[in-house]
């Protein structure tokens, strides 16, 4: 049985089918990109996996445990961590406290010194340890993004969902960001990342899944997918003369 298995996941918003019977699997330790034009259902799919939205149909399992139909906090404790398309930090808490939260309330339920150690390690990973005592609301945008990633890492997840985590970074920051994600895959975390920056996808993901208007239209090796006529058509639209 596959590590992450998504079987005919479906999400309806009234008459709109945002995710239309999507099925795929990920193996343990794999990193895959989730591509598609705006509004194709990528974030909705991420929301179905993390439990932010209840699925209208289908089944999602992680490591043999059923995730579909569960509350987000149960799914988090089952080993799923995520970042958000619009960065979400806890502005009134310090950096250490921000990062401690999933360590305390996650699967391992660390407390006290153990939780602090996990948080410090995660802040070290993203390069924020020298500002650990600062309040999160004071951080710049890029540092808030780093903090969000540190929080996801401190959950010690089995599956990490990144929703355009690299968006909005300048070229230098992007290079650092890619290195950071790569270091996470080396530690054995399975990653599914929504991403529009194709250079980053090429650099990080050997395999991509492409969605268009709710359907999965490609699931293949990255190079092949990016030259697939169906994928190009989805991104650029069909040209009028063919």
């Amino acid at each position: 049985m596959s590590f992450l298995s998504i079987d005919n996941a479906r999400k309806d918003f009234g008459g709109l089918r945002a995710v239309n019977d999507v099925s795929f699997t990920l193996e343990r330790g794999e990193i895959a990109g989730l591509l598609g034009p705006n509004g194709s259902g990528k974030t909705t799919l991420i929301n179905l996996i993390s439990g932010a939205l209840p699925a209208s149909g289908g089944q999602i399992t992680l490591d043999g445990v059923r995730l579909s139909g569960r509350r987000p906090d149960v799914i988090a404790r089952a080993g799923v961590a995520r970042t958000f398309q619009l960065v979400r930090i806890l502005p009134s808490l310090t950096l250490t406290e921000n990062v401690m939260i999933p360590a305390v309330f996650g699967a391992k339920a660390h407390w006290g010194a153990a939780a602090r150690a996990v948080a410090e390690q995660a802040l070290e990973t993203v390069g924020l340890s020298d500002r650990a005592g600062a309040t999160a609301g004071e951080l710049t945008y890029i540092d808030q993004k780093r903090l969000e990633l540190a929080r996801a890492v401190a959950a010690e997840p089995k599956l990490l969902l990144l929703d355009e985590w690299l968006a909005g970074l300048n070229p230098t920051e992007l290079t650092e960001g890619i290195e950071l994600v790569r270091s996470l895959t080396r530690s054995g975390i399975t990653i599914l990342m929504v991403e529009h920056i194709l250079d980053a996808v090429r650099a990080l993901c050997p395999r991509v899944l492409v969605m268009n208007s709710g359907k999965l239209i490609a699931d293949e090796e990255t190079g092949a997918a990016l030259s697939d006529p169906a994928v190009i058509a989805a991104y650029l639209g069909e040209s009028a003369d063919d």
Binding site: S50, G51, A52, R71, P72, D73, A76, R77, A81, R82, F84, R88, I89, L90, P91, S92, L93, E97, M100, I101, P102, V104, F105, G106, A107, W111, R151, A155
Partner: protein, 304 residues
């Protein structure tokens, strides 16, 4: 060590205070300690979660009314126990049905709840028992009431201190900042909010029960006075709702100010009340304690 010793010494001093004051002074003490209890209990739930509850008087009044109904039927400790149970049950039902409401909807619901409870009891008394008012004859002295309320206040602040250091407190703070992040970090939102809401409600209900013999005669319009809910909120906000001593710090001066205003300007007193509400929200949105910290940080910054 000093953090535990100082409050205990203060508590002992407060317990001896009735020996040195007049009956009027003792009345003021009871009122002040009652509002310290109410504001601290309110902040126990609302301080970190930022769910502004106007249901304070729903629980407080229910506590007083329970004593009015039961005071001749069973011994006093049993009455208190039943009161606490009723408060907890009421908070469970209300919490389960409303804690998913966010922001202003929660505020309006809790305000409506207080009115609903008052109207229900009025309806019941008029149509079923046929007696709107009730008398409370209990063998409790004013000093006894003061000591009980002081104990409840100490218990509430102690409980808050413990919660601040516990997982529950951390969970509540995260919920106050961002519920989505809280849920995705593994925090059970419903359970966390419900535990704090019930603990807060039990204290509020007990406060109403303990203070009720002071009224002697009660009827719904007296015990379910919505001003109590508003005063509690503004006191907690003035001191700093997310600090351990914030609500107490806000409750004492405001209670004394209101007492003075209502005896000297009985007709225009609500105007001062309104101005004070506006003043606190504008000038000290995070409370006095946070304001002082900010000022200190500024001075430090200027000195460097």
């Amino acid at each position: 060590m000093l953090k535990i010793l100082l409050p205990l010494l203060g508590l002992a001093a407060l317990a001896f205070l009735p020996n040195f004051v007049s009956d009027y002074g003792l009345g003021l003490l009871i009122g002040a300690v009652t509002y310290v209890t109410l504001a601290s209990a309110w902040a126990l739930f609302s301080g970190h979660t930022r769910y502004v509850s106007l249901a304070t008087v729903a629980f407080y009044g229910t506590g007083a009314y329970t004593v009015a109904v039961l005071n001749e039927a069973m011994p006093y400790p049993a009455v208190l126990a039943v009161t606490a149970l009723i408060g907890a049950a009421m908070a469970l039902v209300v919490g389960l049905s409303t804690l998913r409401l966010a922001g202003v909807y929660f505020v309006i619901f809790t305000f409506g709840l207080s009115e609903l409870v008052r109207q229900l009891i009025t309806w019941y008394e008029v149509n079923v028992t046929g007696t709107l008012g009730r008398y409370i004859f209990l063998d409790v002295t004013a000093r006894g009431i003061y000591w009980q309320m002081l104990a409840l206040a100490a218990l509430t602040i102690g409980l808050t201190a413990w919660i601040h250091r516990s997982r529950l407190g951390l969970g509540l703070r995260v919920i106050g900042d961002d519920e989505t992040v809280a849920a995705h970090s593994g925090i059970n939102l419903a359970r966390t909010k419900l535990i704090a809401f019930v603990l807060s409600a039990v204290v509020l209900t007990l406060a109403g029960a303990i203070v009720s013999p002071r009224w002697v005669y009660v009827e719904p319009s007296i015990v379910f006075n919505p001003t109590v809910s508003f005063l509690t909120v503004i006191m907690a906000l003035l001191g700093g709702a997310n600090r351990l001593w914030g609500p107490a710090l806000g409750a004492v001066p405001l209670f004394l100010a209101f007492e003075w205003l209502s005896s000297h300007f009985p007709d225009t007193y609500p105007i001062f009340l309104g101005l004070l509400f506006i003043g606190v929200v504008f000038a000290l949105p995070d409370g006095v304690l946070a304001g002082i910290e900010k000022l200190r940080a500024k001075r430090k910054g200027a000195a460097q």
